[in-house]
Subunit: 202 residues, 2 copies
């Protein structure tokens, strides 16, 4: 059964080749501005063959969506060594914002692109929930240390994520330009510092 084995590998290679091409073009031109023909020509194949390996454009989106979360989670896991949960929470926000800044297009894919498949049980969103529960547990840890004791952990998690996301979303969709005379970096960093200032008192 050596042949079947090699065939499987070849299939997997092609799957990966398409994904690599798609990632390259997605992250260069954005999701909406990328066509299947663009992806195909990037890897020097015809457009049709993509549909032999992927159901449609949305399926490619989902693979990269998952990939983005993996990357983010990897960067967040570096903070596991930070002992104090509140310090870790604050660092999570910083890493999150840094991730958005450095991976604008991944961030768009993960949080801002119109969601083509609205089924949360489709597996594509399990990894998103993993990130959420990481945050949720962290908040609960903070509470065990006496912080945020009068606040609901789940709503606080949501609020924390929302606030960070708001900063990143304004940045990623170029809406920060309404704040004249401030660079993106100034706004994001000082905006987050301002948020932490409030958080300190909770």
């Amino acid at each position: 059964m050596k042949i079947a084995e090699r065939k499987q590998k070849e299939k997997h290679d092609m799957h990966q080749r398409i994904l690599n091409g798609a990632r390259k073009v997605f992250l260069r031109n954005g999701y909406e501005q990328t066509s299947m023909r663009n992806i195909a020509s990037e890897i020097s194949y015809s457009a049709g063959v993509i549909y032999f390996h992927f159901k449609d454009k949305a399926e490619i989106f989902h693979e990269l969506h998952k990939e983005g979360f993996s990357l983010l989670l990897k960067q967040l896991r570096v903070l596991d060594s930070v002992v104090d949960p509140f310090e870790r929470l604050k660092a999570v926000g910083r890493v999150f914002i840094q991730f958005a800044r450095e991976n604008k297009d991944y961030y768009n894919l993960m949080f801002l692109v119109e969601e083509p498949l609205k089924n949360p049980n489709s597996g594509g969103f399990q990894i998103a929930q993993e990130a959420i529960s990481l945050l949720h547990n962290l908040v609960k840890e903070c509470q065990m240390n006496g912080r945020f004791i009068h606040l609901d952990a789940e709503y606080l998690s949501f609020m924390f994520l929302s606030s960070i996301h708001g900063i990143c979303a304004l940045f990623c969709k170029d809406r920060t330009i309404s704040f004249i005379n401030r660079t993106n970096d100034e706004l994001m960093d000082n905006g987050y510092a301002c948020f932490l200032n409030l958080l300190e008192k909770g």
Copy 2:
């Protein structure tokens, strides 16, 4: 010169007719899912004529973008009667969130659609800056009342807007589904309440 006058009126009527059709289809199907032919057929004209009255799809986007901000600002001006600036600030957030909930597609147009014209001086963004400065002034009023005295007004404004926007953006792009067992209304209202809780202590 009665004729020229009527001609001008007719031109304006057509401009408005296209805008009305576009608004209807945009708010029904979303920006990306709306074609020029859809808009044209909505008002029973051929697609070509739109280009006699508008430069391109982006120009229509900008008119509706402005319209959305007018609507939001109108709803915010109701709060002018609220005397205490901090109470007004809190109400501004509530109205903002309510606006997003009731006008999901306007909200998308205003804050989440990929910006086709990135020139902030093009007039289309003056109204956005008007909204920002409304918020900025409100924060400064709060500071005069002794609140947030150790925080920078501009960064606090940005942070406030970001936090509210984050809640609305997650809602508008259906990313709240990652928080299982919670309805959108629960998340948005209690998330915001949580944020206000922190704000109270600033």
